[in-house]
């Protein structure tokens, strides 16, 4: 039962942290909440028997992608006036419409998901199994992902390089 409890606690943490992250005006605070939410999801991954995904969530999502965010925020150096502006942008008149849309979508999702039955966990899916299917039936997807990452790298380099050159 310990695992079940952990699951629900992490789910609550993830939800709360995500909501907080979406509503902060300070980007750094929002990011910290987002990291917490990611770590909570990592715990959920671990609990449902996907330790490899959990590790990747921590190493890559929380450990690398979010660091990039912090990095960029540091470079932008947003000040106090940014916070005030964000607060102005979060008026109810702005978010009430989108919120309705989201709620409608959520209701639809719940209707669709509601018919799903069965338990989550069927035991642990180890990193080895994931690796074998990654380089077995999904090898083409791996190649595509590598292409995508290469394209991302070249794109990021291109964007960043122009920035440096114009400054120089």
């Amino acid at each position: 039962m310990l695992e079940t409890t952990i699951f629900y606690i992490s789910a609550a943490v993830a939800l709360a942290a995500t909501i907080l992250a979406m509503t902060r005006t300070n980007a750094i605070h929002a990011l910290i909440y987002l990291i917490v939410s990611l770590l909570a999801i990592a715990v959920i991954f671990f609990v449902v028997g996907a330790p490899f995904a959990a590790a990747l969530e921590v190493v890559i999502y929380a450990g690398a992608i979010m660091v990039l965010f912090v990095f960029v925020i540091m470079m932008l150096n947003l000040g106090e006036e940014g916070d005030a502006r964000e607060r102005k942008w979060l008026e109810p008149s702005i978010w009430i419409g989108p919120a309705t849309l989201s709620v409608v979508l959520l209701i639809e999702l719940i209707f669709l998901i509601g018919s799903v039955e069965g338990q989550v966990s069927q035991g642990v899916v180890s990193a080895k199994m994931v690796g074998i299917s990654l380089f077995g039936p999904y090898v083409l997807a791996v190649e595509l992902a590598s292409m995508l990452l290469l394209a991302g790298m070249v794109g990021a380099f291109h964007l960043g390089r122009r920035l440096l050159e114009k400054r120089a």
Binding site: M22, V48, Y61, F69, L109, V116, V120, I132, S133, A145
Partner: protein
């Protein structure tokens, strides 16, 4: 870890909730950094659904999809943040609504 007794649809509810919150974030924020963060939340919600379903069937395919989502997220963030820096330099603001010059 077989004593885990969570119905699959609870996990999917969580995923759906996170997805809706992320989508809401994309719609209501004007700051590009927040929009990128919201997209990360949405991607993560999808990943959660995949991993949960994979765990339900005891198959590695869910985690394989997770790895794919991860690489998409990594590429997206790299390019997206590069764009953020460019936008900040050109428009001196991160307001998404200011960057509206590309129109038909």
């Amino acid at each position: 870890m077989n004593e885990l007794a969570v119905p699959l649809n609870h996990l999917l509810f969580l995923s759906g909730l996170l997805f809706s919150i992320g989508m809401l974030g994309v719609m209501i924020r004007r700051n590009i950094i927040f929009i990128l963060m919201s997209i990360e939340v949405m991607l993560n919600a999808c990943a959660l659904a995949f991993v949960g379903a994979g765990a339900h069937w005891g198959q590695p395919d869910g985690q394989v999809m997770y790895v794919m989502i991860l690489s998409i997220a990594a590429a997206e963030v790299a390019v997206g943040l590069g764009l953020v820096l460019q936008i900040q330099r050109r428009f001196k603001t991160l307001d998404m609504d200011q960057a509206n010059r590309m129109r038909g």
